[in-house]
Amino acid sequence: MNYSKNFHLFFIPLVFLTTCHFSNFYPDPDDPGLSRFTSRGYNVATTYVNGKSFVNTGSFTPILQKDSTGSTVDTLHFKWNIYRNDSTYLKSAYQSISFLMPVPSVFNKTNLLAFNGQRFLNSVPVTLQDSSLRNFEGIATLYFVSVSETNYSSNQKYIKLSGLFDGNIGDSIHITKGRFDFEIYEDYLNF
């Protein structure tokens, strides 16, 4: 087989990585490295961790699922992958951020929509995971500025979530100026 002939195909994933990621990243002129705070379903989330800007990977939607604990209180797991939004992204210290919110086991989509405008002050467990899969756990503030449902057609319903977050992990890791803007296909929800 002539591998050299198909050599260019190896670059296709690279092209997708470089082009898709920034499709909805609109730089915030006031906060270098972060995207503007929007509520349009751009599927972009950015934050500073110890002053370094991080962005979610690609235009992939986050994980938003209810983890059953077998008791009357379950955990709402809100997670997305991140990497450094600068030339050092290959040496990114963290690869994901997740928020774990205790919710009643009967929590459903209606309850999620009721998060609209709710600010959970210094009460949401947050976890940063590094590339060695070590978890760093702390406490965050999570503010759901806007949660709404969008119907593109009768069988295509999306939840739009946008908001702000910040938090501290011990005294050494500070998450600041976090903002997210996601649009999640309702069928992806497990509640």
Partner: protein, 214 residues
Amino acid sequence: MKTFANCIYILISFFSFQANAQSFIALSTGISTDLNNARPFYTVPVTLRWEPFKHSSFFIESIQGTCFTRLSKADAFTTSSQLSEHVVLTEATNLNIQSIGVGGAIVLYTNKKNNRFTLNLSMGICTELFKVKYRNYDMANYEVLNPDVNTRFSGLYASIAGTYNFHKRKQDMFLMMRVQSPSSASGPDHYSLSFHKTAPLELSFGYKLFYNKK
């Protein structure tokens, strides 16, 4: 460059049958509103029009528009427990428009006193610069939701103007109603702003200053 020169030549030739008695420079100003934004931008346009040829109504125009600040509301939010979670800010948007183009005038009506009603058609390049500022914005603690940002559009425009030229006390004056298309420019990205490119509708009054008068 050659194409541009050809266009100018065609325009000069096309409008040559609408001959002027003299070459002139026209200076006008007035007020303009905007037909392309639900909340319009109001500007004060200053228009300079030069008809350089005696035997053609071909002209070169330059328009500078200075905007009255457009005020609107914006929402800002914070995660800080010490502060109110939501504040309403005043967003001040300023617009600066510069257009430069070429065109020609067609005389539609002339009365006994040699007052004329002409139709001016022109096209050229328009640059619009929107500057956005949030008043009393605590940038360190609050984030503006769906913020507008400074934006520049630059592209081609076409315009049409009805002009009534008249004389009074040996002065040559005119009243002009002019509408300009939004420019052909596409924005720097696909980000949605609360404003669009403008389509100014202008009402202005001006003087004609003839030279080479015989």
